[in-house]
């Protein structure tokens, strides 16, 4: 009796596992049973028209593929750049048409499988550092145009190094299970209630733009909540906070005029806002090259998302739920104001008022008031320039203070900045030397 029970449960367990295995395989490769084979892809062998090539190039720009698929100083799109993740480094692949190390043997169908299904030629599952939940949104037509342009480029022979992901995370079974949990190939779903412009914006933001890859939180297994989740998040490894695009207090997207949102995306500079950190790279390599009407569509979509979730707030107006002014120690303010006088006031002004068009005002600045001070600390540590773009070709810069200011100095000056220099209703609490130290240590790694 006991033995029969044991045998029964073992059978059930094995059966369950087998069923789970079949389900995992079905989830990851099931479409291959119905999909057309690679060789029968429509128009695969026809030479692409120059319009298609131009469109393909434009779409590759819109996807900012070059940023990850190029090493520093290396051949464009030849891959090999290490993308550091909390699970190890993933090396980007060679997108040039070299037969052995790039996409030379690929067909348009293979490229579609990579974008839409996150699978390489031959069915191997790709590591999700390649944001295929987003590229899955891209239409087949756009995918084919991108592929045609990539194939028209000169081949570069450059083998991609093997990923160095912690075992077993990079293995096919682990990726297969991860994808059961977090990935479903999903074409773009237009919202018929919205305008064509809104839908074009949504398509770009959710697909090629892959905005949520940074602007949403990642869970312990590195997955984001969805292609349209824009609730902000701390970017792992690079350690910058990508603001919540749905909250007007963080970005001003609901209250800023549309033309200013477009200007920010196009030039890196907008009304009372500028981009820095990883977003500077996005503006530099991708957004500044997009057509005005596409940027407008993105701005329309982003603004409507922000308006749907937050009431517009004027920067200096009281917050809806006027929070109690946090208390900070007088000694910290005192120290902070001295550091500010010595290092910051020369450019940003005694009262943090800035210089129009040259140095940003710090008083009433949304980026200064973010509850997470990571970006502020990063900015003080590395200083630097905003992106030099066609619309803003010679930006002014800020000196790096990484070697000059201690953790305590930076904590004090930021506390002063977020407290004393702000209108009373906006004051934020103390930044601690420990917070600064952690961010500095991560920047050093």
């Amino acid at each position: 009796m006991k033995q029969r029970l044991l045998r029964l449960s073992a059978t059930l367990l094995l059966g369950g596992l087998a069923l789970f295995g079949v389900a995992v395989v079905w989830h990851n490769w099931g479409d291959l049973l119905t999909a057309p084979s690679a060789t029968s892809a429509p128009g695969a062998s026809l030479p692409a028209s120059s319009e298609t090539l131009q469109r393909g190039e434009y779409l590759v720009r819109a996807g900012n593929c070059i940023a990850c698929h190029t090493t520093r100083g290396g051949a464009p799109l030849a891959g090999g750049r290490a993308i550091d993740t909390p699970f190890g480094a993933v090396y980007s692949s060679n997108l040039t048409p070299d037969a052995d190390t790039g996409l030379g043997r690929w067909q348009a169908q293979d490229f579609w499988n990579a974008l839409h299904h996150g699978r390489s030629r031959g069915g191997r599952l790709l590591a999700p550092a390649f944001p295929y939940e987003h590229t899955s949104v891209i239409t087949r037509e756009d995918s084919d145009a991108m592929f045609a342009w990539l194939q028209s480029r000169p081949p570069v022979r450059q083998a991609t190094p093997a990923h160095t992901l912690t075992w077993p995370l990079g293995t096919q079974p682990a990726l297969a299970v991860w994808r059961v949990l977090f990935f479903e190939p999903s074409p773009f779903r237009a919202d018929p209630q919205q305008s064509a412009q809104w839908n074009r914006g949504a398509y770009l933001v959710q697909g090629l733009g892959h905005c949520a890859a940074c602007h949403s939180p990642r869970n312990a297994l590195g997955a984001t909540p969805g292609v349209d989740a824009l609730s902000g998040g701390l970017m792992p490894v690079v350690n910058w906070y990508a603001p919540n695009l749905q909250d007007d207090r963080e970005t001003g997207l609901a209250s800023t005029p549309l033309s200013e949102i477009v200007r920010l995306l196009q030039t890196g500079q907008g009304q009372g806002a500028s981009v820095n950190g990883p977003m500077a790279e996005v503006v530099q390599h991708s957004l500044q090259h997009l057509r005005e009407e596409d940027l407008q569509a993105m701005a329309v979509y982003l603004r409507s998302r922000a308006q749907a979730t937050s009431a517009p707030t004027a920067t200096a107006a009281p917050n809806a739920s006027t929070p109690a002014i946090p208390s900070v120690r007088a000694s910290v303010i005192d120290k902070g104001s001295r550091v500010y006088e010595r290092h910051c006031a020369t450019c940003h002004g005694e009262q943090g008022q800035g210089v129009a068009g040259i140095y940003p005002a710090l008083s009433g600045n949304r980026a200064v008031l973010l509850s997470d001070p990571t970006n502020l600390v990063q900015t003080v540590l590395s200083g630097g320039y905003g992106p030099a773009t066609a619309g803003h070709p010679r930006p002014f810069g800020m000196p790096p203070f990484v070697l000059e200011l201690s953790d305590a100095d930076i904590a004090a000056v930021l506390t002063h900045l977020r407290h004393t220099l702000q209108p009373p209703q906006n004051r934020a609490g103390e930044v601690t030397p420990l917070q600064v130290n952690r961010i500095r240590a991560m920047a050093d790694e």
Binding site: I358, G383, G384, F396, P399
Partner: protein
């Protein structure tokens, strides 16, 4: 005296061990003193400046404040004996250095972050700005190396070493060693630590120039023990009366066998 030979310490600095005290104070307490004094003077001067509601101008001097914070006012060199002078260096040379940081041929995290968002045109503007500034040089620091080794350094700089196929520094960097327009930098008026760090970085391949990399070839031929002799002699020399780079050469400066990606004119225009 440092436990590590200075070249190792300086190279270690360049390789990223930035907050090691040795990097910034390789000469020990004397230099700390200089620093403190500079800091004291700055702390007295800057608030006074700030209170006078400084007029912020829309010009290159204002745009390069991120540079001059370390490289000194107008790029006249940093106070710490590491950050090199930028003022008056040939524009082509400075532009190439910015490109080298952007494209990974030179490695210094802070510089890379600074140049990453810039366009090649803007980097050229920045280079031209510093190249146009001709400022007086500070007096050189006397060397503590024994005279025989300094003489050896001078010999390599002036004549090279034919037995090793090593050309004289002066052959490309100009008779006056103040550089040659538009791509070759001057070698005088640079901090000893900076020179050591750079020669060390060329030796280890940490610093590169555009291929074909003639300077890498040259440095390979300097005997290890003579690197410090060369840098010490250079760092201890006063500047000549005319500190400007020599005009662009009318004909190739070097042996036709040498080809320089960073300064094609040296080998008769062949890249």
């Amino acid at each position: 005296m440092n436990a590590k030979p200075p070249i190792v310490a300086a190279t270690a600095c360049r390789m990223g061990y930035l907050r090691e005290m040795n990097c910034f104070f390789p000469h020990g307490r004397r230099q700390v003193g200089v620093w403190l004094l500079t800091g004291l003077l700055a702390s007295l001067a800057l608030p006074a400046l700030a209170q006078g509601a400084r007029k912020v101008e829309d010009n290159m001097a204002e745009r390069t404040r991120a540079c001059t914070a370390c490289h000194g006012d107008q790029g006249r060199a940093g106070p710490d004996g590491y950050y090199p002078r930028l003022a008056g260096k040939p524009a082509g040379y400075l532009h190439n250095q910015l490109r080298n940081f952007a494209e990974g041929r030179r490695h210094y995290g802070i510089m890379t972050q600074l140049v990453d968002p810039l366009t090649d045109t803007y980097m050229g503007d920045i280079a031209a700005h510093f190249a146009s500034l001709h400022l007086p040089y500070p007096p050189p620091t006397p060397s503590q190396l024994e005279p025989a080794r300094l003489a050896r350094g001078q010999q390599i700089v002036r004549q090279g070493d034919a037995s090793r196929g090593l050309p004289a520094c002066a052959q490309c960097h100009g008779e006056r060693l103040t550089g040659v327009l538009p791509h070759v930098p001057g070698l005088l008026g640079l901090p000893l630590d900076y020179l050591n760090a750079q020669l060390g970085a060329w030796q280890t391949g940490q610093r590169k120039a555009h291929a074909p990399d003639c300077m890498a070839e040259v440095v390979k031929r300097i005997p290890n023990e003579d690197v410090i002799a060369v840098s010490s002699w250079l760092a201890s020399q006063p500047l000549p009366a005319d500190t400007r780079p020599a005009p662009a050469p009318a004909r190739p400066l070097s042996d036709p066998a040498w080809r320089c990606g960073s300064a094609p004119e040296l080998a008769g225009g062949r890249p």
